[in-house]
């Protein structure tokens, strides 16, 4: 191992890779949230329950597909680059959020909803002022799972030319440059772990004190 290689990896390669990786993660998660939460809310309404079951099963199957296979399948269909990578990652980040949104909303006690209705709140108000706030910690936990997942599989997105930290790792592996590999892998691990910590802290903060476990 040489210091020179480390220097290049850290100062020349890493900032760019980190930025690209963060962009991929952020964009994917944002879109995933925008799709998943409304979808979860919709599917948790009693009227569409049956539809919800089908959707959940479908997403479950999608989730079972290994990340590397998703990436590999995205290439011939969507081509090279960041956009295909985001679409591929998006597919698999939907399930945890949708599932947790449904679970969170279903978990709100019917008594609370009834009491809110009894005070004259409309269904809409109940959703926004009672159900979603109470379900938020669980929804956030789904977002956390999805985020960690996207950071992880995001390293594989380098395989289809999306760039990111995976570039450093795969480059390091193929060029036998352990320095690149360590920097890429280390940053990937740090990014995943710190996002996990950050989101679980948020989860803790957002949980009303009366509902915290422990």
């Amino acid at each position: 191992m040489s210091w020179e290689n480390f220097r290049v990896a850290i100062f020349d390669k890493a900032p760019d890779a980190l930025f690209v990786h963060a962009t991929i993660v952020l964009v994917t998660i944002m879109i995933a949230i925008l799709i998943s939460i409304p979808l979860g809310v919709f599917l948790s309404r009693p009227k569409y329950k049956r539809f919800g079951l089908i959707t959940l099963n479908l997403l479950n199957i999608l989730q079972a597909i290994p990340g590397i296979a998703v990436i590999a399948l995205a290439l011939p269909i969507l081509g090279l680059g960041m956009k295909p990578a985001v679409v591929a990652l998006l597919f698999q980040s939907l399930l945890p959020i949708v599932r947790n949104t449904i679970a969170g909303l279903m978990g709100v006690s019917p008594d609370v909803k009834e009491a809110a209705g009894g005070m004259g709140m409309s269904q809409r108000r109940i959703l926004f002022e009672v159900e979603i706030p109470l379900a938020m910690p669980i929804i956030l936990s789904g977002i956390r799972t999805a985020t960690v997942y996207v950071v992880s599989i995001g390293t594989l997105a380098a395989l289809i030319g999306a760039g990111g930290l995976g570039n450093l790792i795969i480059g390091g592996l193929s060029l036998f440059r352990p320095e690149y590999l360590l920097v890429g892998a280390g940053l990937g691990a740090i990014m995943a772990i710190s996002l996990d910590r950050l989101l679980s802290y948020l989860e803790y903060r957002i949980t009303p004190p009366g509902m915290r476990v422990e």
Partner: protein, 215 residues
């Protein structure tokens, strides 16, 4: 068309890679069960240690698999090859297995255990006759996740020298051989979905009848 072509031309390779893939998964899951199930059971005795170990498992679980393999490769004792692959897969299995065993056992109503103890059931008997049958649905769910996950991550081990189904993807990418890549991806996906579905069916059947009926 080109897919079928690829399939028929490379049947032997496909069988060889599948075999490698399966043995790796089997070893990884086997070792994981041997280590993590007893660990999970042990952790139910101490909440303090459970919190610590689960936090560690959770952190390991966050590490991107490509990163994990890459880091292991740079460690001299591991290097390229099966040792690194196995070690990484066993580490990943820590979180789902320990968590599910711990949750499964902890989820059993404490009063049931109290009553059983009060009737003179020995610790071993309580474990066999109460904790395991009542905890098995959750434990099995963890096992299912582990198997499906291991199957997927094992493919990535191709980058550290494993000659398994992941190789079709990596080679296909390098050589721009789409049929090869897609074949690899499809086989892995089908296996993963198949295993997930199969284990899911077993999971439903494994719930003791007394927990399924209501008044």
């Amino acid at each position: 068309m080109s897919l079928i072509n690829f399939f028929s031309k490379n049947t032997e390779t496909i069988i060889e890679y599948s075999g490698n893939h399966f043995t790796l998964v089997l070893w990884a899951v086997g070792i994981s069960l041997l280590i993590w199930v007893p660990t999970g059971l042990l952790l139910t005795k101490s909440d303090k240690w459970a919190a610590r170990v689960l936090a560690l498992a959770n952190t390991i679980f966050c590490i991107p698999s490509l990163s994990m393999f890459a880091i292991l490769v740079t460690i001299p004792t591991f290097g390229l090859g099966r040792k690194s692959a196995l070690f990484a897969l066993v580490l990943y299995a820590m979180m789902p297995l320990i968590r599910s065993v711990y949750d499964g056992v902890k989820n059993v109503d404490r009063n049931v255990i109290e009553a059983a103890k009060g009737m003179g059931m020995s610790t071993g008997r309580i474990l066999r006759e109460i904790l395991v049958p009542l905890g098995i649905p959750i434990i099995f769910a963890g096992f299912r996740i582990t198997v499906v996950m291991t199957t997927g991550i094992a493919a990535i081990a191709t980058y550290i020298g494993e000659r398994n189904l992941g190789r079709f993807i990596s080679e296909g990418l390098v050589r721009s051989n789409t049929p090869m890549m897609v074949t690899g991806a499809l086989i892995i996906s089908v296996i993963a979905i198949g295993l997930d579905t199969l284990l899911g069916l077993i999971e439903k059947r494994i719930v003791p009848k007394g927990l399924r009926v209501t008044r």
